[in-house]
């Protein structure tokens, strides 16, 4: 009996991996974008150890086109653009990651509590979700960003605090259906505390949903950050993100178009790759998506 169970588990894992590999085989774009994303993340991580200096100015050497010394050329005060792009990516990815963590934490907390407690608690929390949902995100995020001094911390908080509603709804719906399952009912019956049930039973069960939302959330956060920074209400000088690099590039675009091209392409690759990653994780979580053509 035991043995068969183990066999099943093993089999289901290999089915999952197989499904993921198969969908990768049919999707070259996903493979390429994921490899590029890996490189981008790697560069962002090891940036401090690279022999590049994003803030060293050199007026004599300004607005140089790409060359062997400066792979992406230099900007209007002579800073190495390659270094600025790498450090910009570091900021964009960090904002994306931390904002995603914030929004996941709030979303999962609100979702599980609302779903598990039900009644008034659920009503109040869901009304809050409804209200926040009704405000166009652009407006909401920009409005709140004026209460905090623009900068790295506030942009992470702003994006994180106002993009958790979707996750909360998903998690709540799953919690509601989990609540009726035997193992939860049993735990409740045998007097296990609510926090313990939420942490040791509900959260692990909704984990697949959380992981899939995390990729979407990450992609959205990066897009939001770059839009805000582009509009000048996000990351401020001398720090830069891909969005603020683009804002900067706007002025000199006529002559140095590559400065506008590169960060934009990196944003596209990153968001595209995170979306693809989300699809793959979805396949991993529910392998039947792949086998939908069966009888």
């Amino acid at each position: 009996m035991m043995k068969r169970n183990e066999g099943n588990k093993k089999k289901s894992r290999s089915v999952r991996v197989d499904s993921v590999l198969l969908s990768l085989k049919h999707d070259k774009a996903a493979v390429i974008s994921l490899i590029l994303l890996g490189l981008i993340i790697l560069f962002a991580l090891i940036a401090p150890f690279l022999p590049v200096e994003p803030n060293a100015t050199n007026i004599a050497n300004r607005l140089q086109p790409p060359s062997a010394g400066h792979w992406f050329g230099t900007d209007e005060v002579g800073r190495d653009y390659f270094a600025r792009v790498i450090y910009g990516g570091r900021v964009s990815l960090m904002v994306g990651f931390l904002a995603m963590l914030t929004s996941l934490t709030i979303g999962v907390a609100v979702g599980t509590i609302a779903g598990f407690c039900g009644g008034m608690v659920d009503m109040v929390l869901m009304r809050i979700v409804d209200v926040l949902y009704s405000i166009p995100w652009m407006i909401l995020v920009t409005v709140v960003s004026i209460f905090l001094r623009p900068g790295l911390k506030s942009i992470i908080l702003v994006i994180g605090f106002f993009t958790w509603m979707e996750i909360a709804r998903l998690v709540r719906a799953e919690t509601l259906s989990l609540k009726e399952r035997e193992f939860i009912l049993y735990a409740e019956f045998s007097g296990v505390g609510i926090w313990k049930i939420i942490i040791s039973h509900i959260i692990p069960s909704v984990f697949p949903t959380i992981i899939v939302s995390a990729t979407t959330s990450m992609a959205n956060a990066i897009m939001t950050e770059s839009s805000l920074s582009f509009l000048g209400v996000g990351i401020q000088q001398p720090m830069s993100s891909w969005g603020s690099l683009l804002q900067n590039a706007q002025g000199t675009m006529q002559n140095t178009f590559y400065m506008a091209l590169i960060p934009g392409l990196l944003i596209i690759i990153t968001i595209f790759a995170f979306n693809k990653l989300g699809n793959l994780l979805r396949v991993f979580v529910e392998p039947k998506i792949m086998n939908d053509e069966k009888e």
């Binding site: 652009m138 509009l231 209400v233 590039a249 596209i268 979306n275």
Partner: protein, 317 residues
């Protein structure tokens, strides 16, 4: 159905009220508020009290809120702190400009999305689908401002075909041709922004419909591909799409903030961004209230449309 709609309207009203309270609170507790804007540190406390009394800021918060709400309901949106202009007056100019841009762009994107989505969805995994879905996946990842920079660089700087900022050239305010030349690039950008998500929505809805049992049954009864597509699938796909129209209502005001800012289009976008940068709270809050109200109205509209068009809900109490 009528009952449902009435109930739906009744739940929308407290939502709008909640949002106005939220906005008012934000405005009141902001680090720099309307009183600070009208007074200077040099004024004596008496003068400040006088100003406060004149504008009603000495009354309890609750009364202030009601006065503000009453003002909004009567079309008195207050005044800009920076320019001292009437916000209602400004918006009366700005909103039509935004609509002139957003409406054609959304309509184009909407129609294109239906065509492309149906085409892709009905040819799942074939060449047409791979191209349409692939391009949509990439387009979703493209920041709209980057796309507009691309357009500006190519059409504006390199080919010198189109003007890159504004809605009219100076002195040509009445010329339709001049307006159109300014209109093309922001219009393309916006259409491109709205398109991919809608294509994906229509496509996945079409794919789902084609995998429904009734399609197999129709095939078993000798329906041709065309009959299945136009007599069955189309209607089932279009229904949820029509209801999406309601959700697009708010775009008429806030759907083009980034694009308008990039192209200097004199709509709500630059007005809003300027207000944010200048800490012009009354403007920011009015736009917040306005756009949220439109979202709630839009959702209400979607639900009502859904009720009217879907027979499964239509008959219910």
């Amino acid at each position: 159905m009528a009952k449902y709609i009435v109930r739906r309207i009744l739940t929308a009203i407290p939502m709008v009220l909640l949002i106005t309270i939220l906005c008012f609170a934000l405005m009141h507790f902001a680090p720099y508020n309307a009183i600070d804007a009208m007074t200077t540190p040099k004024m004596s406390p008496e003068t400040i009290e006088l100003i406060k009394a004149k504008y009603g800021y000495d009354k309890p918060l609750f009364i202030q809120y009601l006065r503000w709400l009453n003002g909004i309901l009567n079309g008195n949106f207050g005044y800009s702190i920076v320019t001292k202009q009437s916000i209602a007056g400004d918006l009366a100019v700005r909103i039509p400009n935004t609509i002139k841009l957003v409406l054609p762009a959304y309509a184009t994107a909407y129609i294109l999305a239906i065509i492309l989505g149906l085409l892709a969805g009905s040819h799942k995994n074939k060449a047409a689908d791979k191209v349409i879905d692939g391009i949509s996946s990439i387009a979703i990842a493209v920041p709209s401002f980057w796309f507009s920079m691309l357009l500006i660089f190519i059409l504006g700087y390199k080919l010198k075909l189109l003007p890159i900022v504004g809605m009219h050239s100076v002195g040509k305010e009445a010329s339709m041709a001049d307006f159109l030349r300014h209109f093309i690039m922001p219009f393309i950008t916006l259409t491109f922004t709205f398109l991919p998500a809608n294509v994906k929505f229509v496509r996945s809805s079409t794919v789902t419909q084609f995998s429904e049992d009734y399609v197999l049954v129709q095939r078993a009864f000798g329906a041709s591909r065309g009959e299945i597509m136009f007599k069955h699938v189309c209607k089932n796909v279009l229904l949820p799409i029509i209801t999406r129209l309601g959700m697009a209502l708010q775009l008429l005001v806030t759907g083009a903030i980034i694009t308008e800012t990039v192209f200097g289009w004199p709509g709500v976008g630059p007005y809003f961004i300027k207000a944010i940068q200048g800490m012009d709270y009354p403007i920011v809050m009015i736009i917040l209230v306005l756009s949220s109200t439109l979202v709630i109205l839009g959702n209400l509209l979607s639900d009502i449309l859904y009720c009217i068009t879907d027979p499964r809900i239509r008959e219910m109490g």
